[in-house]
């Protein structure tokens, strides 16, 4: 039986293409905003005290000891120098995860049809290539989870679940674009559904680390904070 013809499937297809898209975006944006303010409420502002050298204050460094910040050295001593492979894979993965959905041609056509506005679009071949890159990154993460002792030591079932959920929109998108399976409608439904689930999951599940990392590392003072950091926990 061709399932896409049944009443249920028509209904489900319409639902995930219509109301659920709105629900997903509302949950995503409202949830993100909620978590941002929640995180900020956990931390409090701590003004940075300014000190001029002097007796009883601090011992000023000799002039020749102060150099301009060496960014190459900084990078070398950061996680990029400690674990360069994972830094590159992880950075590419996260950037593409956020950027890709916005600039894929298909998404922009939908935007244009609905609202008459759209972003700049990547060419289809570029999108296709970048999708493969994302899937490769996921494969790297999966390999680490399955075979590296240190990752295995703290892996739980939810890690696989959320890794699959992050990969699903890309895998299904790839299949849909190449029409790998005959039932295009089912694949594109899964594509939309997984995208929506992922959006809704961002503020409330393990994916919250995307919000957490931006807010905490940019605002809270620590050895590793990005920028000066004028808040404390």
């Amino acid at each position: 039986m061709d399932s896409s013809n049944s009443f249920f499937w028509t209904f489900a297809y319409d639902f995930i293409r219509g109301p659920m898209v709105w629900a997903a975006f509302i949950v995503f944006f409202a949830g993100t905003l909620f978590q941002v303010f929640r995180l900020l409420s956990f931390t409090k502002e701590q003004p940075i005290s300014k000190l001029t050298p002097g007796p009883g204050r601090f011992i000023p460094k000799k002039a020749d000891d102060k150099g301009k910040k060496d960014w190459v050295m900084w990078l070398k001593l950061s996680i990029a120098g400690v674990n360069p492979f994972m830094t590159i894979v992880s950075t590419i993965f996260h950037v593409l995860l956020i950027v890709m959905p916005i600039f894929v041609l298909g998404h922009n056509i939908l935007l244009d049809n609905s609202f008459g506005v759209s972003f700049f679009s990547l060419s289809e071949s570029v999108s296709d290539f970048l999708t493969i890159i994302v899937i490769l990154c996921v494969a790297v993460f999966l390999y680490r989870r399955l075979f590296l002792d240190r990752v295995k030591a703290i892996t739980t079932w939810s890690d696989y679940l959320f890794l699959s959920l992050a990969a699903a929109p890309f895998v299904t998108g790839f299949f849909a674009y190449h029409q790998v399976f005959e039932n295009y409608r089912l694949i594109i439904s899964l594509h939309i559904l997984s995208g929506e689930l992922m959006l809704m999951a961002v503020p409330f599940t393990k994916f919250v680390h995307m919000i957490y990392s931006v807010i905490i590392r940019l605002t809270v003072v620590s050895e590793y904070s990005l920028g000066r950091g004028n808040r404390t926990w």
Partner: protein
């Protein structure tokens, strides 16, 4: 779980009260941990102990504070004993752990130590 854990010898109410104090921050931090293990190399004990995963900062807080919140404070002496080895023997609280997400790992270890201490669980140094 079908069986109930025996919590004899542990004042679970007291443990719960300590956990509740920092619940919001800790639970969100535990959730935010992506289990990526990029914190490992920042721990000098991990580097000096043949890169044993048990020395990873994330392993240490997931198996101490993580367990405490998961069990909502209903832990037994055995759990606390395991935690003691983890948070005192395998951590010197030098506060230098790196986390790409920005999780405050030393604070979590300190909280686990506080819970253990409240139940009389801490390292016993040799005394005559």
């Amino acid at each position: 779980m079908f069986w109930k854990q025996s919590t004899t010898g542990v004042n679970t109410k007291e443990v719960k009260a300590i956990l509740d104090e920092k619940k919001a921050k800790m639970k969100l931090s535990l959730k935010a941990c992506a289990h990526c293990t990029l914190c490992a190399e920042s721990c000098f004990l991990f580097m000096g102990r043949n890169k044993d995963p048990k020395y990873m900062p994330s392993y240490k807080f997931l198996n101490s504070v993580g367990v405490l919140y998961k069990k909502k404070g209903k832990v037994d002496r055995l759990d606390l004993g395991e935690m003691r080895d983890l948070i005192w023997e395998r951590c010197v609280l030098c506060t230098r752990c790196y986390c790409p997400v920005g999780i405050d790992i030393p604070d979590m270890i300190a909280l686990a130590r506080r819970v253990c201490r409240s139940q009389g669980v801490y390292p016993q140094y040799e005394r005559d």
